[in-house]
Symmetry: C2
Subunit: 738 residues, 2 copies
């Protein structure tokens, strides 16, 4: 339930629940995703991957002659065929394996054929002569044994202040544990897909299921040594991404199009999407925390090993200290994060990347600490929250974060207050988290149309309602009804610069640019209207699409009327009404959140039933309550999935065992309790109408809140995700409880 | 040959001859025109027109049953099938004939079929039961006989000041004549083509060979009662237009797509393009002018009849007075222009619409007046030019026009100074003209890319080098090399508002917006660079892509280096570098021009050989001399075509006799002498770097200059266009000369 707005301004476009702009097309099946788009040229060629069969191997020779002899096969491309210019050890600079295959399923060659079926058939005909090498799969063992300069180590980050080891030795209470989180897939519905071709003027035109067109453009341009102006990336309707869709297939289709000078499309199968993309990395966290008798945290000591997979691209060891500190104040801290290369996957981002893995450890131990100190777990957290202005581990002062408000909201919740009188084997747990969010520069334009509507141009890929939020911001800022605004997602050719739809960056980063653009357009129109009636523009306002003197609501002229007159005045002395906004931030606006889980555990089987779930979050301002609720509930479900069922598993040879959706479990509706969402509004000074980015925080506390609930129900604490019945059962047995 | 720049600033990007951005794709055949684009949906349907066989008829019934029974025919649409909302008597509100067919070739129905061939076959199967009516073809007779309220009269405009009739009665010299100019076609290479379909979110997406995407969007939205935000128009590479491509087929394919909810394409055949589009109207001008002994013009009296064709859309009678006055000062004037509806064509615009027809009369008679007064024809014109600040007939004061400079340039030209010693039957003639040009508001954005290049977004359709000119303006304003700028033509969804590429509006109207956008972006970058080195932004400048302290050229940092650092600084405190410009004009910037023709006439046959041709024009500033030359030479050729060969001719039943390019003559290279182009630069205060629109003026003086040359060679003066050998022969016989 939203709190009241913090000021007296009566909002009209924001604060109202509305469906997403893309929901109708998606629900009715009208939406056309990257794989559905019509051919961009007279003939569209189709590509398929030739995967590495080994997790680790030296490629000696690739014999494509039999495949090339098949009717309809146009080319079989290997790494040497791609006109790459950039070098580096990231996955993007190695779209196809060179001499070494780094994981099972890695693309080794690309078949390009006249149909998908022909390409598929030809995969079998390509002979990859490869010498198997020993697969490296155990990140913890590698981290433990590696010497200086070991190429398997991506990097090691050590962060310390105070003397954490000494402080822990003398701590009133010390708790510690080793927490394991597996690889998980981002679980979007639409597999990766991309198409590339050379336009008539030689521009490399790419259409892809991507979260960020500008990022993809810049990456491909750099990779192939092209001027950025010679690459255009367009994003059609996207079917989910959660961090995964960041320029994975674009280099492949771009290389093929540049090489063959033909239009080439690649659409991953579900199996390829599970095996050959960049899922979220496994993390093993060894953590010790201590507190004084008063519950004040004294020190934190952590060793985290990040399984970076086959490339060093998206390993989060550099972020370990900031993550482990959480939203709390620590007098002493000592954190080492180590990224390790293994032969599993590429490693990618997944909504609050590395957050749930680390929080599972921290918030589990805080719960344990509360029990040991016999302090209410919520009270313990409140007592230790960092305050505005305290130094962040990652540098700079903490901005205002509304986490205390979230915790207090939970503390008053009947599910929490009633936890003392539960039936046997039931328990309630809470966990908290904060996500820094990004604060990125962006630009936008807002144009007044001849019929009085507004067109906002953006490069923002519409995920989870981004475009719907931006429309409401523009409507509110200009003074027209929400329905009068259309947000157009343009390609990199003509869109104002915008970040990718990731890192909770859109509302907080692009929202202010849209607001500034709409206000600029509004001021232009007011100046014209004021000119007409010879009054000061400052004495006019626009409310509900009507330009009127302040304080004289009856005397208005509609925006549409003025817009039409302007548009059709040949040789008008007024410039077009189009506002431009370009903004950047001076501070972050983190989003704090606290979740509560209520479980019943069958002590005989370890089966856990989730009975109730409450999520509370500080969203700064709920610009669209329906979308706030959707983000929070969706994130909670992803947390529940990671808590109970999700894991990408390899065998000892590095072969993926969970290569289909029969093997890789995603949370099902039947597993889910009603999810109650509440939010608090602690406005971010630089957010649009106070809004904070709020997309990532909802995935943070789930596994820990559920683990804490299981501990409350059973006295046993599972420390490995997913918390399967087997693992819960084992934890109960080990604890000798109940 | 260009004059020197008027100020001392050393231009680097402008003033340099460069090829057009689209020339490579066009010359190599890579260009993809509207008819070549891939299908925008899974299936593209093809349309063909069912033409009216009669020039004037009442349609009783259309029987499409036989056509609909043909395999592959999807629909046969008639006017009643189009979901039109707007009403009116213009052609746009009647994409298909309703109860009355107004000209032979008018679309009566639209076949939509699975292939073009099927649609073509089905045309024959549609039975149009129509009752022939008497075709109205003689505009002069109608104008003479029509009473008040006659529906055949579009409108009558009468403009007078002083007592022209009295002044002519007492004039020292009076000359008069009746001048006839026929219908002519705009003569572009690419026939009209358009495609429409409904996008996944219900947006009506139109791709068309059009000069103005915003105009087409607004027109279609109004026609079908759609919000403008639900219509998107995209312009691919265009193969010429010259005023013709202004929303002719868009209403047809839009109506079909809305009705059928399918993708529909219509590409005109050359025959349809000649018969069913909107060519330039025929004008009959009865003109009398008088002068005093000193050569000062005393009065002008004119009666013009404009054959508006089947609709009142683009009849120019309202412009008659402004046109007839030309660039001269007239103490008394009396002009009546009458537009008359006939059963010939729709009536459209053609480069300087109605200009060449009127100028043919005025400049012929001025030449005759010079002869009667024995004053050098150039001197006579110079003596009578309106001066800056003199009132224009159309209202407002004359801005500065560089026509005197053009005339003086011609007067000094050897072709003029040597005209006294020509062989028999040769003659030299001159004619002058001025075109008001448009002054329209526009907006533009200019974005700095990570590699230091600039992207300018515009909605301008690239005709005759528009985009190349805008790139040079941005480069000059920002301080980077021309090659560092790319101009992107965006669809109406995301483009900044821009006028259609017509009316000489782009350089003068959009150029300042692009300049403002580039300067804004430059200033943003300078502020960031200055911040970095802690100096005042005003002390920095950008020259040749290098940011440097003023006066210290050695200490620079490249734009690319700063741009790259900015682009890849996660969480940068600087907004994106993107400038926005939105501009409007307070005054027109007409372009003056004077042409010289040197002919040899065979008095026995009337055959005229054009031996030499010189065009001089005030372009304000030659931003790209190669394109200035191209515009001037191309316009001269169109004038020569109208002078000698071009005419759309109907028979007495209103059937077009010149329905193919075998019958409708266009100027051929073999007819053309070397065309010498010279320009003067009288800067327009509000033009970008002083530039004026200069696209239309070059077509103005040709027919009159050639007529005057024929008169000089023969003493006989043809008064009807085209001046065929037969007409010249007849004029010579009539004059009893030589």
């Amino acid at each position: 339930m939203p709190h009241e707005p913090v000021d007296d301004r009566p909002f009209r476009a924001i604060g109202v629940p509305r469906p997403r702009a893309d929901s109708r097309a998606k629900v009715t099946g009208a939406a056309r995703y990257a794989a559905d788009l019509p051919a961009p040229a007279r003939e569209l060629l189709h590509a398929r991957l030739v995967p590495s069969l080994y997790a680790h191997a030296r490629i000696r020779r690739i014999d494509a002659s039999a495949a090339l002899a098949m009717p309809g096969v146009v080319a079989v491309l290997t790494a040497a065929d791609l006109p790459l210019r950039a070098t580096g050890d990231g996955r993007r600079s190695e779209p196809l394996a060179r001499d070494i295959a780094r994981f099972a399923g890695q693309p080794v060659a690309l078949i390009v054929a006249r149909s998908e079926a022909i390409a598929e058939d030809a995969v079998e005909a390509v002979v990859v002569d490869a010498e198997p090498l020993q697969p490296e799969l155990d990140a913890v063992a590698i981290a433990a044994s590696a010497g200086d300069g070991d190429p398997r180590i991506v990097s090691t980050h050590h962060t310390a202040h105070g003397d954490a080891v000494a402080a822990l030795t003398t701590a009133h209470v010390l708790v510690e544990g080793r927490f394991v989180a597996p690889w998980v897939h981002q679980g979007y519905l639409e597999p990766h897909a991309a198409t590339a071709f050379l336009d008539e003027d030689g521009t490399l035109a790419i259409t892809a299921s991507t979260q960020g067109t500008f990022d993809a453009r810049n990456e491909v341009a750099q990779l192939y040594g092209l001027p950025v102006s010679r690459v255009r990336v367009t994003a059609p309707t996207i079917g989910g991404a959660f961090g995964s869709k960041e320029c994975l297939l674009e280099p492949l289709v771009a290389g093929a199009a540049l090489r063959l000078r033909r239009a080439v499309r690649l659409v991953l199968t579900r199996r390829e999407d599970l095996a050959a993309t960049d899922p979220a990395q496994a993390v093993v966290t060894e953590l010790r925390i201590g507190a004084g008798e008063d519950g004040r945290f004294t020190a934190l000591d952590a060793r985290l090993v990040y399984d970076a997979g086959a490339y060093p691209d998206a390993s989060w060891e550099w972020f370990a200290a900031g993550l482990m500190a959480g939203p709390y104040h620590w007098p002493a801290i000592d954190v080492t994060g180590t990224g390790v290369r293994t032969n599993r996957f590429g490693s990618g981002n997944y909504r609050a990347p590395s957050g749930p893995q680390g929080l599972f450890a921290l918030e589990s131990l805080i719960d344990e600490l509360a029990a040991r100190l016999d302090i209410d777990p919520i009270e313990l957290r409140l007592r230790n929250l960092a305050r505005e202005g305290d130094p962040m581990v990652a540098g700079g002062p903490w901005p205002r974060v509304g986490l205390a408000e979230c915790l207090r909201e939970l503390r008053a919740h009947p599910a929490w207050t009633g936890r003392g009188s539960l039936p046997p084997h039931e328990g309630v747990g809470v966990a908290a988290g904060v996500w820094r969010n990004a604060a990125l520069p962006a630009a936008a334009t807002c144009r007044l149309e001849p019929d009085g509507t507004l067109t906002v141009a953006t490069g923002v890929v519409d995920l989870a309602g981004s475009v719907t939020i931006l429309a409401a911001i523009a409507a509110e800022a200009f003074g027209v009804p929400f329905e009068a605004v259309r947000v157009v997602v343009a390609s990199t050719d003509s869109a104002p610069p915008t970040p990718a739809t990731s890192a909770s960056a859109i509302t907080y980063g692009v929202g202010p640019a849209v607001r500034a653009a709409a206000e600029a357009a509004r001021d232009q129109l007011l100046a014209i209207a004021a000119d007409d009636v010879e009054i000061d523009p400052g004495d006019l306002e626009i409310v509900d699409g009507v330009i009127r003197p302040r304080g004289a609501p009856a005397e208005g002229r509609s925006v549409a009327e003025v817009a039409e007159a302007l548009a059709f005045a040949w040789g008008s002395p007024y410039p077009p009404v189009e506002g431009h906004g370009a903004t950047a931030h001076t501070e972050l606006a983190p989003s704090g959140t606290a979740h509560l889980a209520h479980v019943r555990v069958d002590p005989e089987t370890g089966d856990v039933q989730l009975l109730a779930y409450v999520a509370v979050q500080d969203v700064g301002r709920a610009l669209n309550p329906a979308l706030v609720e959707g983000q929070m509930a969706g994130g909670a479900v992803q947390g529940i999935g990671r808590a109970f069922v999700e894991a990408l598993v390899h065998d000892d040879a590095g072969q993926l065992l969970t290569g289909t959706l029969l093997d890789y479990a995603l949370p099902r509706a039947s597993m889910l309790p009603p999810i109650e969402t509440r939010w608090v509004e602690v406005p971010a000074p630089e957010g649009p109408f106070g809004a904070r980015g709020m997309a990532e925080a909802p995935v943070l506390p789930g596994p820990a809140a559920i683990a804490n609930a299981i501990a409350a129900a059973t006295g046993a604490r599972p420390r490995e995700l997913p918390m399967t019945a087997e693992r819960v059962w084992a934890a109960i047995r080990e604890a000798g409880s109940p």
